[in-house]
């Protein structure tokens, strides 16, 4: 299911939660997962339009904790990459990861 928070505006920096490094924040745009899974994520706070901040992670960076809507929820990489975000600021130049286009 595609849940779009603001589909009329073109996305400037399309990315996923996977592209966020620790401390980075972004606004969630859509959840690319089947209905029930998306709903569960939304009930945990991952609603399109919500600000998500990447937090600490397990050793090796997977799963990672995300701060969303007053809670901290850990997601595996495979789930995090299904959550599309709009980056609030340009990625730092020379950083390890750059948003995919």
């Amino acid at each position: 299911m595609q849940l779009s928070g603001n589909s009329s505006q073109p996305e400037v920096f399309p990315a996923t939660l996977l592209d966020l490094r620790r401390g980075d924040a972004a606004v969630l745009d859509s959840i690319d997962l089947p209905g029930d899974d998306a709903r569960r994520l939304m009930e945990m706070g991952f609603l399109p339009g919500t600000r998500v901040t990447a937090g600490l992670s397990a050793p090796g960076g997977d799963p990672r904790v995300f701060q969303v809507d007053g809670s901290e929820v850990a997601l595996r990489r495979e789930t995090a990459k299904r959550l599309k975000v709009r980056l609030e600021k340009r990625p730092r130049p020379g950083g390890g990861k750059t948003p995919r286009t």
């Binding site: 939304m42 397990a58 050793p59 799963p63 809670s71 901290e72 850990a74």
Partner: protein
């Protein structure tokens, strides 16, 4: 997902209608349901209200646990409380949500429809938790909105206007701290039926999560809700516990400390229990005249029950640890750290908690797999949990190791040969679990793609009451088992070992009914190096592993050849070293526990999985023991 899938029509609003005038003040609530999202402190409140007057069962027909209890009001009246499972919403998708929905709407024949609801929410995360208020309030049942963790909210600078919130929601509101007992008078007032009932309000469409969240946010801001600052201590502790280097070290240290405590710190306590049983047994033996009844009471029943009760301190210490880890919030971090490793065998971080618990006992471990939403992961965890070396195996291991392995140092003063053998058996069980998980998850239990979601609760001090209640509960189960299953098996064994009588005298043990049964199965177990006496022990240990000790004690005691020897020497004369190792391997793999079989049937909702599991583990035990008996001579 359809956003308009139920009776709450899309785009319109639902108005709650409370029952006619009078409401709860006219008819005092007799049955009250407690509901709330996970980590809202719902169970803490339930424990505070009911204390020891509670019991745990299952809702008939489903695998959802039902906690019920009696709460006493200050005026002496009693209220029947039902603690429903923690849910984020009432849309019946999971079994938990279905049960919560059915109970609240009075659609379960086995549970009376609640006359009132206590909705427990976390006040430090009000806006998100308020989303559950919409479906609950729309049921039209008198509801008290309980905002829990008032102490946290205050300490972290949060704020809200209770009266405005109550007016916005159209329901009474109480701000409490269930841990500290703060604000409980408001809860009692509601339960006594004396709380004013505000006017009904408009509620959002329930199936639409974004709209529900918007509504909850609006209600929160109308009530002047100021979210508290981020929990500084939680952030600080997480920087340590989830540190790339320090985190795993703490993790290993915690697991090590758990084992160290249950195996070393528990020893004096266990010696104390053993002493109590020895002294009282000797006293009984002296007080009773020499007879068959005395041998039954002293050698059979008392020794049998005592050999199990010795392990009570160990089981309690393990549950104490797990309780502290769970209630403090560390277990969620442990699950996070363990996730990658567990993923390698196809499982996930949430399986770590049940598997750690299974080192104490598989029964509560299997019950705690409920936190795993993915059904296939959950079944895989249930199927491998009995491979973990539970405390019931310890008396068997201890006896056989002590009988066959001389004590010597292996690695300096740190590890002697007996401890090394014990460690080896732990590793053996663990490897069997890992290989089995791998096989299951790449074949019949291959997972779909249900996302792994793990909420990280804030760290909190565990309360003495919550841990104490849990330990009390565990002791009850343990003592009951020692007192019933093991007692019964011992008495039956004693009886069949004394029939048929020959010329009015009890038969020689090999001619008794028990001996006949043992000799009948002897050909099947001979390849494993076991004789018919061990065979009888294997049969009785189907009830519970540790029963074999009381059984062998009874049989050797009745056999003139070993009469007078202590159990350790008797078994040493009766088994070859190969047979002893085979017996250890057999116990490491076999599923000899009625309670586990029963709980697997209950948790998986049928006989399919317990039968498969029993067959698989028995086959593995037989094959493993066969190999051991032929390799070691």
């Amino acid at each position: 997902m359809s956003e308009c899938s139920d009776c709450h029509s899309c785009g319109t609003t639902t108005v709650i209608e409370f029952p006619g005038p009078g409401g709860i003040s006219a008819t005092e609530p007799k049955v009250v349901a407690v509901i709330g999202p996970p980590n809202s402190g719902k169970t803490t409140l339930f424990n505070r209200l009911t204390g020891l007057r509670q019991k745990v069962a299952n809702f008939p027909g489903v695998t959802v646990e039902q906690h019920t209890g009696m709460a006493e009001l200050p005026d002496g009246r009693s209220i029947h409380l039902i603690d429903l499972p923690g849910v984020y919403s009432l849309s019946p998708r999971s079994e938990d949500e279905q049960v919560a929905y059915d109970v609240l709407t009075g659609n379960r024949a086995d549970t009376p429809k609640p006359e009132a609801i206590l909705l427990v929410l976390d006040s430090t995360n009000l806006a998100r938790h308020l989303m559950l208020a919409a479906p609950i309030l729309s049921l039209g049942v008198p509801t008290l909105i309980i905002l829990n963790m008032a102490d946290d909210l205050r300490n972290r600078g949060g704020h809200l206007d209770l009266d405005k919130l109550s007016a916005e929601l159209g329901a009474p509101v109480a701000l409490i701290s269930a841990r500290q007992g703060e604000g409980m008078d408001g809860v009692f007032k509601f339960l006594a039926g004396a709380m004013p009932r505000p006017a009904p309000k408009e509620l959002p469409v329930l199936q639409d999560v974004p709209k529900c969240r918007q509504w909850a946010g609006r209600v929160g801001s109308q009530a002047a809700y100021r979210a508290p600052l981020a929990p500084q201590w939680t952030r600080r502790l997480d920087r340590l516990f989830l540190h790339p280097v320090a985190g795993p070290m703490v993790f290993v240290a915690v697991v090590f400390a758990v084992f160290q405590t249950i195996f070393n710190a528990a020893v004096p306590l266990m010696d104390g229990v053993k002493w109590l049983f020895d002294v009282s047994g000797a006293w009984m033996a002296a007080a009773l005249p020499e007879s068959l009844v005395r041998s039954l009471l002293v050698d059979g029943v008392w020794k049998g029950v005592g050999s199990v009760m010795v392990f009570l301190p160990q089981v309690l210490l393990l549950f104490l640890f797990i309780g502290i880890l769970e209630d403090s919030g560390y277990l969620a971090r442990a699950a996070l750290i363990a996730d990658r490793t567990m993923a390698k065998v196809g499982l996930q971080g949430k399986s770590f908690i049940p598997l750690l618990s299974a080192y104490a006992c598989a029964v509560p471990a299997i019950m705690s797999t409920r936190t795993i939403e993915n059904r296939r992961d959950r079944i895989a965890t249930i199927l491998i949990a009995p491979f973990m070396t539970c405390s019931a195996r310890l008396p068997v291991y201890t006896l056989i190791i002590a009988a066959f392995i001389p004590q010597r140092h292996v690695v300096g003063p740190f590890l002697d040969s007996r401890a090394a053998a014990m460690l080896g058996l732990y590793v053996l069980g663990f490897l069997a679990a890992v290989v089995t998980a791998r096989v299951l998850k790449s074949s019949i239990l291959k997972s779909g793609r249900t996302p792994f979601l793990l909420e990280m609760p804030s760290y909190r001090w565990p309360t003495v009451q919550s841990i104490g209640l849990r330990l009390f509960d565990r002791s009850k189960v343990f003592v009951r088992r020692a007192g019933t299953v093991i007692l019964l098996v011992t008495v039956i064994l004693w009886a069949i070992a004394n029939v048929p009588t020959q010329n009015g005298h009890p038969p020689a043990i090999e001619n008794s009914l028990a001996g006949t049964i043992g000799r009948t199965i002897e050909p099947a177990i001979k390849p494993l190096g076991f004789n018919w006496k061990i065979g009888i022990g294997l049969i009785t240990s189907l009830a519970a592993r540790e029963t074999i000790i009381a059984t062998l004690g009874t049989i050797y005691g009745m056999d003139p050849k070993s009469h007078g020897l202590d159990l350790q020497n008797a078994i040493h004369r009766d088994l070859t070293p190969g047979g002893a190792v085979a017996l250890l391997v057999f116990f490491a793999f076999a599923m000899q526990c009625m309670s586990t079989i029963a709980v697997v049937r209950r948790e998986t909702g049928g006989w399919k999985w317990p039968i498969l599991q029993f067959g698989y583990m028995s086959a593995l035990a037989y094959a493993g023991a066969f190999v051991a008996a032929h390799v070691i001579r």
